[in-house]
Amino acid sequence: MEHLVDIVLLGLLMITGFAIVRMRSLLAAAMLTSIYSLLSASLFVVLDAVDVALTEAAIGAGISTILLLATVALTTDEEKAPRHTPLLPLVVVIATGAALIYGTLDMPHYGDPAAPIHQYVAPTYLHDTPGVIGVPNVVTSVLASYRGYDTLGEVTVIFTAGVGVMVLLGYRLRRCNITGPGIRNLIVLRVIAKLFFPLILLFALYVLLHGDYGPGGGFQAGVVFATGFILYALAFGLGNAQRLIPRKLLRIMVAVGMLIYAAVGIESMLLGGKFLEYRVLADDPVTGQRLGIMLIELGVGIAVASVVLIIYYAFVSRHCQAPEDM
Protein backbone atom coordinates (compact mmCIF):
# COMPACT_ATOMS: atom_id res chain seq x y z
CA MET A 1 0.00 0.00 0.00
CA GLU A 2 2.76 2.39 0.97
CA HIS A 3 4.59 1.46 -2.22
CA LEU A 4 1.51 2.27 -4.26
CA VAL A 5 1.26 5.85 -2.94
CA ASP A 6 4.98 6.20 -3.52
CA ILE A 7 4.77 5.05 -7.13
CA VAL A 8 1.76 7.24 -7.92
CA LEU A 9 3.51 10.32 -6.54
CA LEU A 10 6.70 9.55 -8.46
CA GLY A 11 4.65 9.10 -11.62
CA LEU A 12 2.97 12.48 -11.10
CA LEU A 13 6.39 14.04 -10.54
CA MET A 14 7.57 12.59 -13.84
CA ILE A 15 4.53 13.94 -15.70
CA THR A 16 5.06 17.39 -14.16
CA GLY A 17 8.75 17.32 -15.08
CA PHE A 18 8.03 16.50 -18.72
CA ALA A 19 5.32 19.17 -18.83
CA ILE A 20 7.86 21.75 -17.61
CA VAL A 21 10.25 20.74 -20.41
CA ARG A 22 7.55 21.23 -23.04
CA MET A 23 6.03 24.41 -21.59
CA ARG A 24 6.91 27.55 -23.59
CA SER A 25 5.27 30.03 -21.21
CA LEU A 26 7.59 30.78 -18.30
CA LEU A 27 4.70 31.79 -16.08
CA ALA A 28 3.13 28.37 -16.53
CA ALA A 29 6.51 26.70 -16.03
CA ALA A 30 6.90 28.57 -12.73
CA MET A 31 3.50 27.35 -11.54
CA LEU A 32 4.33 23.81 -12.59
CA THR A 33 7.56 24.07 -10.63
CA SER A 34 5.49 24.94 -7.59
CA ILE A 35 3.33 21.86 -8.18
CA TYR A 36 6.49 19.77 -8.59
CA SER A 37 7.68 21.00 -5.21
CA LEU A 38 4.36 20.33 -3.52
CA LEU A 39 4.30 16.80 -4.93
CA SER A 40 7.79 16.12 -3.63
CA ALA A 41 6.72 17.47 -0.23
CA SER A 42 3.90 14.90 -0.20
CA LEU A 43 6.41 12.24 -1.17
CA PHE A 44 8.61 13.25 1.79
CA VAL A 45 5.67 12.67 4.13
CA VAL A 46 5.24 9.17 2.71
CA LEU A 47 8.96 8.60 3.21
CA ASP A 48 8.72 9.60 6.92
CA ALA A 49 10.57 12.90 6.53
CA VAL A 50 7.94 15.21 8.03
CA ASP A 51 10.38 18.00 8.90
CA VAL A 52 11.74 18.01 5.38
CA ALA A 53 8.21 18.01 3.94
CA LEU A 54 7.28 21.09 5.96
CA THR A 55 10.41 22.88 4.78
CA GLU A 56 9.91 21.89 1.15
CA ALA A 57 6.26 22.98 1.17
CA ALA A 58 7.12 26.37 2.67
CA ILE A 59 10.27 27.07 0.67
CA GLY A 60 9.99 25.14 -2.59
CA ALA A 61 6.29 25.59 -3.22
CA GLY A 62 5.99 28.96 -1.49
CA ILE A 63 8.90 31.37 -1.53
CA SER A 64 10.74 29.99 -4.57
CA THR A 65 7.57 30.32 -6.65
CA ILE A 66 7.08 33.90 -5.52
CA LEU A 67 10.65 34.72 -6.55
CA LEU A 68 10.26 32.97 -9.91
CA LEU A 69 7.04 34.87 -10.60
CA ALA A 70 8.69 38.14 -9.58
CA THR A 71 11.56 37.44 -12.00
CA VAL A 72 9.17 36.56 -14.82
CA ALA A 73 7.34 39.82 -14.15
CA LEU A 74 10.65 41.73 -14.30
CA THR A 75 11.88 40.05 -17.48
CA THR A 76 9.75 38.23 -20.00
CA ASP A 77 7.11 35.54 -20.08
CA GLU A 78 7.85 33.79 -23.37
CA GLU A 79 10.65 31.44 -24.13
CA LYS A 80 12.11 31.52 -27.61
CA ALA A 81 12.62 28.23 -29.39
CA PRO A 82 16.22 27.04 -29.13
CA ARG A 83 18.35 27.51 -32.25
CA HIS A 84 20.11 24.19 -32.18
CA THR A 85 18.48 20.82 -32.43
CA PRO A 86 18.48 19.21 -28.98
CA LEU A 87 20.27 16.12 -30.31
CA LEU A 88 23.56 16.55 -28.45
CA PRO A 89 21.95 17.39 -25.08
CA LEU A 90 19.65 14.41 -25.50
CA VAL A 91 22.58 12.06 -26.08
CA VAL A 92 24.45 13.49 -23.09
CA VAL A 93 21.40 13.16 -20.85
CA ILE A 94 20.64 9.58 -21.90
CA ALA A 95 24.28 8.54 -21.47
CA THR A 96 24.47 10.12 -18.00
CA GLY A 97 21.17 8.60 -16.98
CA ALA A 98 22.21 5.16 -18.16
CA ALA A 99 25.49 5.39 -16.24
CA LEU A 100 23.65 6.44 -13.07
CA ILE A 101 21.11 3.63 -13.41
CA TYR A 102 23.97 1.17 -13.88
CA GLY A 103 25.42 2.61 -10.67
CA THR A 104 22.23 2.05 -8.69
CA LEU A 105 22.37 -1.69 -9.35
CA ASP A 106 24.97 -2.00 -6.60
CA MET A 107 22.89 0.00 -4.14
CA PRO A 108 21.03 -1.74 -1.32
CA HIS A 109 17.35 -2.23 -1.93
CA TYR A 110 14.89 0.53 -1.12
CA GLY A 111 13.74 0.32 2.51
CA ASP A 112 16.32 -2.32 3.46
CA PRO A 113 17.04 -1.99 7.22
CA ALA A 114 20.47 -3.65 6.75
CA ALA A 115 21.74 -0.98 4.34
CA PRO A 116 25.12 0.52 5.33
CA ILE A 117 23.60 4.00 5.70
CA HIS A 118 21.56 2.77 8.67
CA GLN A 119 24.52 1.17 10.46
CA TYR A 120 26.89 4.00 11.22
CA VAL A 121 25.85 7.08 13.25
CA ALA A 122 22.06 7.02 12.95
CA PRO A 123 21.48 4.26 15.57
CA THR A 124 23.52 6.26 18.07
CA TYR A 125 21.52 9.40 17.40
CA LEU A 126 18.24 7.51 17.79
CA HIS A 127 19.39 5.73 20.92
CA ASP A 128 21.06 8.65 22.71
CA THR A 129 18.72 11.52 21.93
CA PRO A 130 16.10 10.93 24.68
CA GLY A 131 18.73 10.61 27.42
CA VAL A 132 21.37 13.11 26.33
CA ILE A 133 19.40 15.84 24.56
CA GLY A 134 15.97 15.23 26.05
CA VAL A 135 13.85 16.12 23.01
CA PRO A 136 11.63 13.60 21.20
CA ASN A 137 12.28 14.93 17.69
CA VAL A 138 15.59 13.40 16.63
CA VAL A 139 15.81 15.58 13.52
CA THR A 140 15.88 18.68 15.72
CA SER A 141 18.47 17.20 18.04
CA VAL A 142 20.78 16.23 15.18
CA LEU A 143 20.24 19.52 13.39
CA ALA A 144 20.78 21.81 16.33
CA SER A 145 23.05 19.86 18.63
CA TYR A 146 24.98 16.95 17.10
CA ARG A 147 25.56 18.77 13.83
CA GLY A 148 25.37 22.34 15.12
CA TYR A 149 28.49 23.33 13.14
CA ASP A 150 26.81 22.37 9.87
CA THR A 151 23.74 24.39 10.69
CA LEU A 152 25.83 27.42 11.57
CA GLY A 153 27.38 27.02 8.12
CA GLU A 154 23.96 26.90 6.46
CA VAL A 155 22.85 30.04 8.26
CA THR A 156 26.00 31.72 6.97
CA VAL A 157 25.09 30.64 3.43
CA ILE A 158 21.63 32.17 3.84
CA PHE A 159 23.19 35.34 5.21
CA THR A 160 25.57 35.52 2.25
CA ALA A 161 22.71 35.01 -0.21
CA GLY A 162 20.81 37.88 1.41
CA VAL A 163 23.84 40.14 1.09
CA GLY A 164 24.37 39.00 -2.49
CA VAL A 165 20.80 39.78 -3.54
CA MET A 166 21.02 43.15 -1.81
CA VAL A 167 24.19 43.97 -3.72
CA LEU A 168 22.78 42.81 -7.06
CA LEU A 169 19.31 44.30 -6.82
CA GLY A 170 19.76 47.59 -5.14
CA TYR A 171 21.06 48.19 -1.71
CA ARG A 172 20.41 51.92 -1.98
CA LEU A 173 16.86 51.85 -3.24
CA ARG A 174 14.56 54.38 -1.67
CA ARG A 175 11.20 53.55 -0.20
CA CYS A 176 8.82 52.58 -2.91
CA ASN A 177 5.10 52.92 -2.79
CA ILE A 178 3.58 50.50 -5.18
CA THR A 179 0.65 48.29 -4.47
CA GLY A 180 0.25 45.03 -6.27
CA PRO A 181 -1.56 45.76 -9.54
CA GLY A 182 -5.09 46.66 -8.65
CA ILE A 183 -5.11 44.80 -5.37
CA ARG A 184 -5.87 47.95 -3.43
CA ASN A 185 -9.49 47.76 -4.56
CA LEU A 186 -10.06 44.10 -3.91
CA ILE A 187 -11.83 44.12 -0.60
CA VAL A 188 -12.23 40.34 -0.45
CA LEU A 189 -8.48 39.81 -0.54
CA ARG A 190 -7.83 42.66 1.86
CA VAL A 191 -10.30 41.52 4.49
CA ILE A 192 -9.15 37.90 4.34
CA ALA A 193 -5.50 38.96 4.47
CA LYS A 194 -6.31 41.04 7.54
CA LEU A 195 -7.97 38.04 9.15
CA PHE A 196 -5.11 35.68 8.40
CA PHE A 197 -2.07 37.88 9.06
CA PRO A 198 -2.08 37.36 12.88
CA LEU A 199 -2.93 33.68 12.45
CA ILE A 200 0.02 33.04 10.14
CA LEU A 201 2.40 34.82 12.51
CA LEU A 202 1.11 32.85 15.49
CA PHE A 203 1.44 29.62 13.54
CA ALA A 204 5.05 30.51 12.70
CA LEU A 205 5.84 31.01 16.38
CA TYR A 206 4.09 27.72 17.18
CA VAL A 207 6.25 25.94 14.61
CA LEU A 208 9.35 27.60 16.05
CA LEU A 209 8.65 26.67 19.66
CA HIS A 210 7.37 23.14 19.07
CA GLY A 211 10.35 22.01 17.01
CA ASP A 212 11.41 19.83 19.95
CA TYR A 213 8.23 17.78 19.92
CA GLY A 214 7.19 17.54 16.30
CA PRO A 215 8.07 18.72 12.83
CA GLY A 216 9.22 22.31 12.96
CA GLY A 217 12.08 24.54 13.96
CA GLY A 218 13.86 27.71 13.04
CA PHE A 219 14.11 27.26 9.27
CA GLN A 220 10.45 26.46 8.72
CA ALA A 221 9.23 29.05 11.21
CA GLY A 222 11.34 31.78 9.63
CA VAL A 223 9.89 31.11 6.21
CA VAL A 224 6.29 30.95 7.47
CA PHE A 225 6.80 34.18 9.39
CA ALA A 226 8.11 35.91 6.27
CA THR A 227 5.14 34.55 4.30
CA GLY A 228 2.80 36.39 6.67
CA PHE A 229 4.51 39.67 5.85
CA ILE A 230 4.53 38.90 2.13
CA LEU A 231 0.76 38.42 2.32
CA TYR A 232 0.53 41.75 4.12
CA ALA A 233 2.66 43.43 1.47
CA LEU A 234 0.49 41.97 -1.30
CA ALA A 235 -2.74 43.12 0.26
CA PHE A 236 -1.75 46.51 1.66
CA GLY A 237 1.14 47.56 -0.56
CA LEU A 238 4.88 47.40 -0.21
CA GLY A 239 5.00 50.88 1.30
CA ASN A 240 2.91 49.84 4.29
CA ALA A 241 4.90 46.64 4.74
CA GLN A 242 8.11 48.65 4.79
CA ARG A 243 6.67 50.99 7.37
CA LEU A 244 5.84 47.95 9.49
CA ILE A 245 9.26 46.34 9.06
CA PRO A 246 11.80 48.76 7.59
CA ARG A 247 14.73 47.50 5.54
CA LYS A 248 17.16 48.91 8.06
CA LEU A 249 15.62 46.81 10.82
CA LEU A 250 15.78 43.72 8.61
CA ARG A 251 19.48 44.23 7.94
CA ILE A 252 20.09 44.45 11.67
CA MET A 253 17.92 41.40 12.38
CA VAL A 254 19.87 39.18 9.97
CA ALA A 255 23.03 39.99 11.84
CA VAL A 256 21.29 39.55 15.21
CA GLY A 257 20.11 36.09 14.21
CA MET A 258 23.61 35.02 13.23
CA LEU A 259 25.02 36.59 16.38
CA ILE A 260 22.62 34.73 18.68
CA TYR A 261 23.78 31.48 17.13
CA ALA A 262 27.49 32.26 17.37
CA ALA A 263 27.12 33.78 20.84
CA VAL A 264 25.63 30.54 22.18
CA GLY A 265 28.74 28.78 20.86
CA ILE A 266 31.10 31.27 22.46
CA GLU A 267 29.15 31.30 25.71
CA SER A 268 29.56 27.54 25.98
CA MET A 269 33.30 28.00 25.42
CA LEU A 270 33.43 30.60 28.17
CA LEU A 271 31.65 28.23 30.52
CA GLY A 272 34.35 25.63 29.95
CA GLY A 273 32.87 23.51 27.18
CA LYS A 274 33.69 23.28 23.50
CA PHE A 275 32.19 25.51 20.81
CA LEU A 276 28.41 24.83 20.68
CA GLU A 277 28.59 22.26 23.49
CA TYR A 278 25.31 23.16 25.13
CA ARG A 279 25.42 20.90 28.14
CA VAL A 280 27.51 23.41 30.10
CA LEU A 281 24.89 26.14 29.67
CA ALA A 282 22.90 25.03 32.69
CA ASP A 283 23.60 23.02 35.85
CA ASP A 284 21.80 20.02 34.44
CA PRO A 285 23.29 18.85 31.10
CA VAL A 286 19.88 18.00 29.59
CA THR A 287 18.44 21.40 30.50
CA GLY A 288 21.56 22.96 29.01
CA GLN A 289 21.02 21.09 25.76
CA ARG A 290 17.39 22.14 25.54
CA LEU A 291 18.25 25.75 26.31
CA GLY A 292 20.98 25.76 23.68
CA ILE A 293 18.71 24.23 21.03
CA MET A 294 15.95 26.73 21.78
CA LEU A 295 18.33 29.69 21.51
CA ILE A 296 19.94 28.66 18.27
CA GLU A 297 16.54 27.81 16.72
CA LEU A 298 15.49 31.34 17.64
CA GLY A 299 18.62 32.73 15.97
CA VAL A 300 18.01 30.64 12.85
CA GLY A 301 14.37 31.74 12.73
CA ILE A 302 15.23 35.44 12.97
CA ALA A 303 17.96 35.18 10.35
CA VAL A 304 15.89 33.18 7.85
CA ALA A 305 12.78 35.36 8.19
CA SER A 306 14.82 38.54 7.69
CA VAL A 307 16.74 37.20 4.69
CA VAL A 308 13.58 35.99 2.96
CA LEU A 309 11.96 39.40 3.48
CA ILE A 310 15.09 41.22 2.28
CA ILE A 311 15.10 39.14 -0.89
CA TYR A 312 11.38 39.72 -1.42
CA TYR A 313 11.70 43.48 -0.91
CA ALA A 314 14.66 43.60 -3.29
CA PHE A 315 12.81 41.83 -6.11
CA VAL A 316 9.55 43.71 -5.73
CA SER A 317 11.02 47.18 -5.36
CA ARG A 318 13.10 46.55 -8.50
CA HIS A 319 9.77 46.39 -10.23
CA CYS A 320 8.77 49.89 -9.30
CA GLN A 321 12.22 51.40 -9.76
CA ALA A 322 12.77 50.00 -13.22
CA PRO A 323 11.03 52.78 -15.22
CA GLU A 324 13.19 55.47 -13.61
CA ASP A 325 16.41 53.60 -14.23
CA MET A 326 15.85 53.11 -17.93
Binding site: N185, V191, I192, K194, L195, L201, L205, L209, H210, L244
Partner: protein
Protein backbone atom coordinates in the same frame (compact mmCIF):
# COMPACT_ATOMS: atom_id res chain seq x y z
CA UNK B 1 -15.86 49.13 21.17
CA UNK B 2 -12.48 50.59 21.90
CA UNK B 3 -9.22 49.58 20.26
CA UNK B 4 -7.95 48.10 23.50
CA UNK B 5 -10.97 45.85 23.76
CA UNK B 6 -10.36 44.62 20.20
CA UNK B 7 -6.72 43.94 20.96
CA UNK B 8 -7.65 41.94 24.05
CA UNK B 9 -10.20 39.94 22.08
CA UNK B 10 -7.66 39.14 19.38
CA UNK B 11 -5.16 38.13 22.06
CA UNK B 12 -7.65 35.79 23.72
CA UNK B 13 -8.52 34.21 20.39
CA UNK B 14 -4.86 33.70 19.47
CA UNK B 15 -4.06 32.21 22.86
CA UNK B 16 -6.98 29.80 22.56
CA UNK B 17 -5.64 28.81 19.14
CA UNK B 18 -2.19 28.25 20.66
CA UNK B 19 -3.60 26.00 23.37
CA UNK B 20 -5.50 23.95 20.80
CA UNK B 21 -2.47 23.59 18.55
CA UNK B 22 0.11 22.97 21.24
CA UNK B 23 -0.93 19.89 23.19
CA UNK B 24 1.96 20.44 25.65
CA UNK B 25 0.70 22.10 28.80
CA UNK B 26 3.86 22.60 30.82
CA UNK B 27 4.27 26.04 32.45
CA UNK B 28 7.14 26.81 30.06
CA UNK B 29 5.10 26.10 26.91
CA UNK B 30 2.16 28.12 28.24
CA UNK B 31 4.53 30.99 29.00
CA UNK B 32 5.81 30.77 25.43
CA UNK B 33 2.19 30.86 24.30
CA UNK B 34 1.52 34.05 26.25
CA UNK B 35 4.69 35.69 24.92
CA UNK B 36 3.93 34.67 21.31
CA UNK B 37 0.39 35.98 21.60
CA UNK B 38 1.59 39.30 22.98
CA UNK B 39 4.18 39.60 20.22
CA UNK B 40 1.64 38.91 17.47
CA UNK B 41 -0.89 41.33 18.97
CA UNK B 42 1.88 43.93 19.13
CA UNK B 43 2.70 43.40 15.45
CA UNK B 44 -0.98 43.48 14.49
CA UNK B 45 -1.36 46.76 16.37
CA UNK B 46 1.64 48.19 14.56
CA UNK B 47 0.20 46.99 11.26
CA UNK B 48 -2.98 48.88 12.17
CA UNK B 49 -5.07 45.76 11.79
CA UNK B 50 -6.91 45.96 15.08
CA UNK B 51 -10.53 46.61 14.36
CA UNK B 52 -13.86 44.90 14.06
CA UNK B 53 -12.75 42.76 11.13
CA UNK B 54 -10.00 40.85 12.91
CA UNK B 55 -12.40 39.45 15.48
CA UNK B 56 -13.18 35.93 14.39
CA UNK B 57 -14.55 35.01 17.82
CA UNK B 58 -17.17 37.71 18.01
CA UNK B 59 -19.89 35.77 16.29
CA UNK B 60 -23.52 35.69 17.12
CA UNK B 61 -25.24 32.39 17.60
CA UNK B 62 -27.21 33.06 14.43
CA UNK B 63 -23.99 32.68 12.42
CA UNK B 64 -24.03 28.99 13.31
CA UNK B 65 -27.51 28.67 11.83
CA UNK B 66 -26.27 30.47 8.73
CA UNK B 67 -23.42 27.97 8.42
CA UNK B 68 -25.81 25.06 8.63
CA UNK B 69 -27.97 26.61 5.92
CA UNK B 70 -24.90 27.36 3.79
CA UNK B 71 -23.65 23.78 4.25
CA UNK B 72 -26.97 22.44 2.97
CA UNK B 73 -26.80 24.76 -0.04
CA UNK B 74 -23.23 23.67 -0.75
CA UNK B 75 -24.13 19.98 -0.67
CA UNK B 76 -27.18 20.52 -2.89
CA UNK B 77 -25.31 22.47 -5.53
CA UNK B 78 -22.35 20.09 -5.35
CA UNK B 79 -24.59 17.23 -6.31
CA UNK B 80 -26.13 19.32 -9.07
CA UNK B 81 -22.73 20.34 -10.52
CA UNK B 82 -21.46 16.76 -10.23
CA UNK B 83 -24.46 15.51 -12.20
CA UNK B 84 -23.80 18.06 -14.92
CA UNK B 85 -20.11 17.23 -15.11
CA UNK B 86 -20.79 13.53 -15.49
CA UNK B 87 -23.73 13.69 -17.91
CA UNK B 88 -22.51 13.18 -21.48
CA UNK B 89 -24.23 16.23 -22.99
CA UNK B 90 -22.58 18.66 -20.53
CA UNK B 91 -25.84 20.58 -19.88
CA UNK B 92 -24.43 23.94 -18.79
CA UNK B 93 -25.46 27.46 -19.71
CA UNK B 94 -22.84 29.91 -18.40
CA UNK B 95 -24.11 33.38 -17.61
CA UNK B 96 -22.64 36.58 -16.20
CA UNK B 97 -24.86 38.91 -14.21
CA UNK B 98 -24.74 41.40 -11.36
CA UNK B 99 -26.34 41.27 -7.94
CA UNK B 100 -26.65 44.01 -5.37
CA UNK B 101 -25.38 43.30 -1.87
CA UNK B 102 -27.44 44.68 0.96
CA UNK B 103 -24.76 44.47 3.65
CA UNK B 104 -23.49 47.63 5.27
CA UNK B 105 -19.99 46.61 6.40
CA UNK B 106 -17.04 45.38 4.37
CA UNK B 107 -16.90 42.20 6.40
CA UNK B 108 -20.55 41.50 5.60
CA UNK B 109 -19.97 42.00 1.88
CA UNK B 110 -16.91 39.78 1.95
CA UNK B 111 -18.92 37.10 3.74
CA UNK B 112 -21.58 37.34 1.04
CA UNK B 113 -19.04 37.32 -1.81
CA UNK B 114 -17.21 34.33 -0.38
CA UNK B 115 -20.45 32.47 0.28
CA UNK B 116 -21.39 32.94 -3.38
CA UNK B 117 -18.02 31.56 -4.46
CA UNK B 118 -18.14 28.73 -1.94
CA UNK B 119 -21.32 27.34 -3.45
CA UNK B 120 -20.29 25.50 -6.61
CA UNK B 121 -22.09 26.85 -9.65
CA UNK B 122 -21.57 30.52 -8.82
CA UNK B 123 -18.31 32.50 -8.60
CA UNK B 124 -17.94 36.15 -7.63
CA UNK B 125 -15.82 37.73 -10.36
CA UNK B 126 -15.67 41.29 -9.15
CA UNK B 127 -16.70 43.29 -6.12
CA UNK B 128 -17.32 46.97 -6.73
CA UNK B 129 -18.78 48.56 -3.60
CA UNK B 130 -22.19 46.85 -3.33
CA UNK B 131 -22.40 45.57 -6.91
CA UNK B 132 -21.07 42.04 -7.42
CA UNK B 133 -20.37 40.61 -10.85
CA UNK B 134 -21.14 36.91 -10.67
CA UNK B 135 -20.39 34.10 -13.10
CA UNK B 136 -22.87 31.23 -12.93
CA UNK B 137 -22.49 27.80 -14.45
CA UNK B 138 -26.17 27.45 -15.21
CA UNK B 139 -29.23 29.67 -15.58
CA UNK B 140 -30.85 27.82 -12.68
CA UNK B 141 -27.97 28.66 -10.33
CA UNK B 142 -28.15 32.28 -11.46
CA UNK B 143 -31.89 32.47 -10.89
CA UNK B 144 -31.43 30.86 -7.50
CA UNK B 145 -28.94 33.51 -6.43
CA UNK B 146 -31.01 36.37 -7.86
CA UNK B 147 -33.89 35.39 -5.60
CA UNK B 148 -31.73 36.92 -2.88
CA UNK B 149 -32.22 34.47 -0.04
CA UNK B 150 -28.49 34.28 0.67
CA UNK B 151 -28.22 38.06 0.61
CA UNK B 152 -30.98 38.35 3.19
CA UNK B 153 -29.47 35.70 5.43
CA UNK B 154 -26.03 37.31 5.38
CA UNK B 155 -27.67 40.65 6.24
CA UNK B 156 -29.30 39.00 9.23
CA UNK B 157 -26.08 37.68 10.70
CA UNK B 158 -24.10 40.83 9.99
CA UNK B 159 -23.20 42.85 13.08
CA UNK B 160 -23.52 46.59 12.55
CA UNK B 161 -22.21 49.19 14.92
Amino acid sequence: MSKLQHAINLGLFLFALWVLLSGHYTPLMLLFGVLSTLFVVFLATRADLIDRETQPILIKLSVLFYWVWLGREIIKSNIDVTRRILSPGLPISPTVFTVRAGQKTELGRVTYANSITLVPGTVTMDVDKDVFTVHALTREAAADLKRGEMNRRVCNVEIVF
